[in-house]
């Protein structure tokens, strides 16, 4: 998909991606895995069909199938919704936490990093003709929903799904103004999320209660996990702060300072659950979570 100029080839690449990852999700034949695979398939197939429809509309109105010349406004709207469904941007994000929860950890890593790369490439290639209003609304909604819905989670894969949704919101808000920043955000997010997923895979933690005892297996790795989680949250001086800083700078240059403020305020919500993950992995000794009277629910 990444190196294609024709819409049909892009669609074919996305279809092959979907079909290839489905057996990886349902490899263990557990009912949860099969259900996750079914949900993933339905959403991705519908999004691919919408993508094909938008390219067909564009072809009828402009007479060509080039990806970089998507000039029909209806077709760019439909394309944006189709790619939002593929990525998991709000309001099309409802499948993503459940699918990530039902898949094994390494497949979950693939789903949240590698499978997002072709749709983001398509957005990058068509970024000059996308509708900024729709993307800004979807981005703000994504960061809000990713922050709010991630607050009450004890399953780590669902938490990482909501973190992915909020990061995608950050990427979507800048893609019409400065697409390279969106790509930078995506690369850094991929790097940090890969580190988190691989750490979780090494220590085999899936729930918050298991995370609390993970320090006994590899103490150094859980210490680094704390740093990585805080980097995902976007705290300076860690790397995760860099894309947020550059995006806010670019948004204020484009006279969109209110949007920049709203999106950074909503990412404070996700900071809470990153802090909770970091806290439970490194600072506490089980089974007591704190020395205070209030206890966090961990199961």
């Amino acid at each position: 998909t990444i190196s294609s100029n024709h819409w049909i080839l892009a669609w074919a690449g996305l279809e092959i991606n979907t079909l290839a990852v489905l057996p990886l999700i349902s490899k263990s034949h557990h009912p949860r895995a099969v259900e996750a695979a079914t949900k993933y398939f339905l959403v991705q197939a519908a999004a691919s069909a919408l993508l094909l429809f938008s390219s067909m509309t564009n072809a009828w109105h402009t007479g060509q199938w080039d990806i970089t010349q998507l000039t029909n406004s209806t077709s760019s709207l439909i394309l944006t919704s189709a790619i939002a469904m593929k990525l998991g941007l709000a309001p099309f994000h409802f499948w993503f936490p459940e699918v990530l929860q039902g898949s094994p950890l390494i497949t979950g890593l693939l789903l949240s990093t590698a499978m997002k790369f072709p749709p983001i490439t398509l957005l990058y290639m068509t970024s000059s003709s996308l509708n900024p209003t729709l993307l800004t609304i979807m981005a703000i909604l994504s960061t809000a929903l990713g922050g709010w819905m991630g607050l009450n989670q004890t399953q780590i894969r669902k938490t990482l799904a909501f973190s992915s949704i909020s990061h995608l919101g950050w990427m979507a808000i800048i893609i019409t103004y400065y697409p390279k920043l969106a790509l930078l955000n995506f690369y850094l997010y991929t790097l940090i999320t890969t580190a988190v997923f691989l750490t979780l895979n090494t220590t085999k933690v899936l729930k918050l209660s298991t995370l609390m005892t993970a320090w006994t297996k590899t103490p150094a790795l859980t210490a680094i996990l704390m740093m990585t989680l805080l980097s995902l949250a976007g705290l300076p001086p860690l790397t995760g702060f860099l894309p947020k800083w550059l995006i806010i700078q670019e948004l204020t240059k484009q006279e969109m300072a209110p949007a920049a403020t709203i999106i950074s305020l909503f990412s404070l919500l996700s900071l809470f659950f990153y802090l909770r993950l970091a806290y439970c992995s490194t600072i506490t000794l089980p089974p007591h979570t704190t020395n205070h009277m209030k206890l966090w629910h961990t199961n």
Binding site: I8, W11, A12, E15, E35, A36, A37, A45, A49
Partner: protein
């Protein structure tokens, strides 16, 4: 917009609405997916006829191949979900709720 374009738009839109509003059975969702693909196939076939170009004539066949693969995968997932969940009722797909 000519009558031909309108018929394709409405066919695709109706199928996608059917996919969005499916209620009980997974197989009705798969059927609506197939009808979306069918409308796209016929639209792709009409395109080189309308614009008198002969180069994209093979595109419908390629598209049909991919949609057939997708349909096969959908049916395999239907069978797998029938084995693990007992039926294809969508109410039973609640193992992964928050």
């Amino acid at each position: 917009m000519s009558y031909l374009h309108l018929s394709f738009y409405s066919a695709f839109t109706l199928s996608s609405l059917g996919l969005a509003f499916h209620r009980t059975h997974l197989i009705s969702a798969l059927l609506c997916l197939e009808s979306m693909m069918l409308s796209m196939y016929i639209a792709l076939t009409m395109w080189p006829i309308q614009t008198q170009t002969s180069s994209p004539t093979m595109l419908p066949i390629i598209m049909l191949t991919f949609s057939a693969c997708e349909a096969g995968t959908g049916l395999a997932l239907l069978v797998a979900s029938a084995r693990t969940h007992g039926s294809d009722h969508l109410h039973n797909f609640n193992l992964l709720q928050c």
